[in-house]
Amino acid sequence: MKKSSLFASASALCLGLVLAVSTGTAANAAANCIKGDRKPPYTIGWADIYSVPTWMKQTQGTIEAEVETLKKQGLVDKLVVTDAQGDANVQIQQIQSMIDSNVDAIILIAGSSTAPARVLADACAKGIAIINFDSLVDTDKVTAKVNTDSSQWGDQAAKFLISAIGGKGKILILNGPAGISVSDDRRKGADAELKAHPDVKVLAETNTPYNVAPAQEAVTSLLFANPEIDGILSLGGALSAGAVLALDKQGRDQVPITGENARQFLELWKEKGLKSWATMQPNWLGAFAAYTAVQALQGKDVPAFVKIPLPVIDNSNIDEYLARAKDFPADGYIYSPYDEELFKKLLAQK
């Protein structure tokens, strides 16, 4: 009952995906890196870049839940977890340790889009299934990469905001940290729309970590400098929450803002009656990576890149998300529902 309703809403969210699904044929070619000499039950290594942020904890939660399912099916016997504490060099060392201890699969969020490339090539050469999700590495020596499209994220956010402010006005742009690919890609994705609308004037841009407090601080000082702001193009959920709080504390009127599925932002959205738009980096990418690794190890062909369609939250469906809010941590992210059917469809897409 619950499962089917979850699936119903999942398919509603991923309508384009469902329409696009064709009949997947069982290909006989093995996926990249797979040699076929590894037999179940498998050991999966999860090379986390930084375990402390809530988004990461929630993601690890989905991985653990998936591994429990796979354990029951006798496909996995062990999950090895490392935490690089934000240091890309440590992550490389930990991936090396995973190779040394001969795990069957490595799933990772990369701490650098370039640094782990060589150690991953070593793992690939040893027949280890590598599924890289969220922050990706620029290399072909992995079994599959899984992600949403950051550039599309920026593009859609900019489209919404520009139409919400009527095609002209003064806006702020809130970015994640400088020098991080995801943050850079989202920002670049917004460029085309901004260029196409010369009447939209960018007053200032910020680079802060994806946390509420620094974003609130940065926006507060920008509010002092800019008495007139028509909209905020925020490229991260915690950033949006920070901006809404900053406007609120300064007694300024709320303006159209974009965001992400951060629970705090969604609740502020409802509370302040905002006109807003949000998308998400679903936490279940982690569960999907574990699932995909086991599929690949069993000799199934998996696409080298699995593009996850961006689920969209707007004023029409925000209540569906908030209805589930109590199942998520207060500073966490309310992700769209998922199940094995969805995973199968994602893997079958061409």
Binding site: V81, D83, D87, A88, N89, I92, Q96, R118, G179
Partner: protein, 321 residues
């Protein structure tokens, strides 16, 4: 108990002096040795050529930044810009070596950048008498910003042969480290090197005795900068590319390694071998905890306990009568 050397000749003096310098770090050496043995037992592949090579490669950049920090702390200075300088070295290497300048040109620029940044920092700290912690904190923003300007997002390339040479299946990194340690020994024998400890421990007394205190300290900053950009070059070779924020964690880790190795914050105390052992312990800890199957949360706790333990053991010995 203390070894009073019978000063017959310089040669007879050398080993007793070295032995006395080891006293402070002897327990650290034991801890490191215990971890090495544990690692070897947990992962016998360590004793193969490629296993040893990979392990020394993960240690090497940390060893270099520990030396970079230690040489400054010995003169009574400190640097909060080491991480940023590593990043800068990495992006310079990744943007020049695959271009017309080639590997030789790239190495030259990395060396010049390191020496130049270090010397400039040293000049500001020493000649303008500004606190090192403030100057290098400001420096870390400037240098980190420069790295982002050169390479706004991870990219660039290092010739594959150089990556394979430095970070392939040969212990090239370990050989390089041995060479660098020997060069350090040589440097300590030069007038500037000899002045290093004196300048750190008692700058006024050293100055009155005719020791070139300022020159020794500026030279220490320059060498520190060179070691940092050198670590950046190695990281770029190891990863095959440049990343403008790859070095960030090295600032704190370099201080941790140096302090763990018995280098005092006040200058003139400690030895380079201590700092190297400290960096080796930090690096070993990560691998050993992995093979022991510690969960990430347990790793945070264990890491803290090991560091406190390693620093506290010599103190216990001092308390005993």
């Amino acid at each position: 108990m203390s070894m009073v050397p019978s000063a017959k000749s310089a040669g007879a003096l050398y080993w007793p002096v070295q032995a006395r310098r080891n006293i402070g770090v002897r327990s650290l050496f034991l801890v490191v040795l215990a971890f090495l043995v544990a690692y070897g037992v947990l992962f016998p592949g360590l004793f193969t050529a490629s296993g040893f090579a990979k392990f020394t490669q993960s240690w090497f950049p940390l060893a270099l930044v520990a030396m970079a920090q230690a040489i400054l702390m010995l003169t009574g200075g400190i640097s909060l810009a080491i991480g940023a300088t590593v990043s800068l070295g990495a992006v310079i290497a990744a943007t020049t070596m695959a271009g017309p300048l080639g590997v030789a040109g790239g190495v030259a620029i990395v060396v010049l950048a390191g020496l130049g940044i270090g010397a400039a920092t040293g000049f500001i700290v020493v000649k303008l008498r500004l606190p090192a912690i403030v100057v290098t904190l400001a420096g870390s923003f400037i240098i980190g910003g420069a790295a982002l300007l050169i390479l706004p997002r991870p990219g660039g390339a290092i010739p594959a042969w150089l990556s394979d040479l430095l970070a392939g299946d040969t212990p090239a990194a370990f050989v390089l480290l041995v060479v660098i340690v020997l060069l350090w020994k040589l440097y300590l024998a030069t007038p500037l090197g000899l002045s290093l400890y004196a300048a750190g421990e008692n700058p006024v007394g050293a100055y009155r005795s005719g020791v070139p205190v300022d020159a020794a300290r500026v030279a220490a900053y320059a060498i520190s900068g060179l070691l940092s950009t050198g670590a950046g070059l190695f990281v770029a070779a190891q990863t095959g590319s440049g990343d403008p924020v790859i070095g960030t964690a090295f600032t704190l880790n370099s201080i941790a390694a140096a302090v763990l190795g018995g280098i005092g914050f006040l200058g003139g105390q400690g030895t380079m071998r201590g700092a190297l052992a400290g960096s080796l312990l930090l690096s070993l800890m990560i691998s050993v905890m992995f093979f022991l199957g510690f969960t990430p949360v347990a790793q945070y706790v264990a890491q803290g306990l090991i560091i406190i333990g390693a620093v506290a053991i010599p103190q216990f010995r001092k308390v005993q009568p």
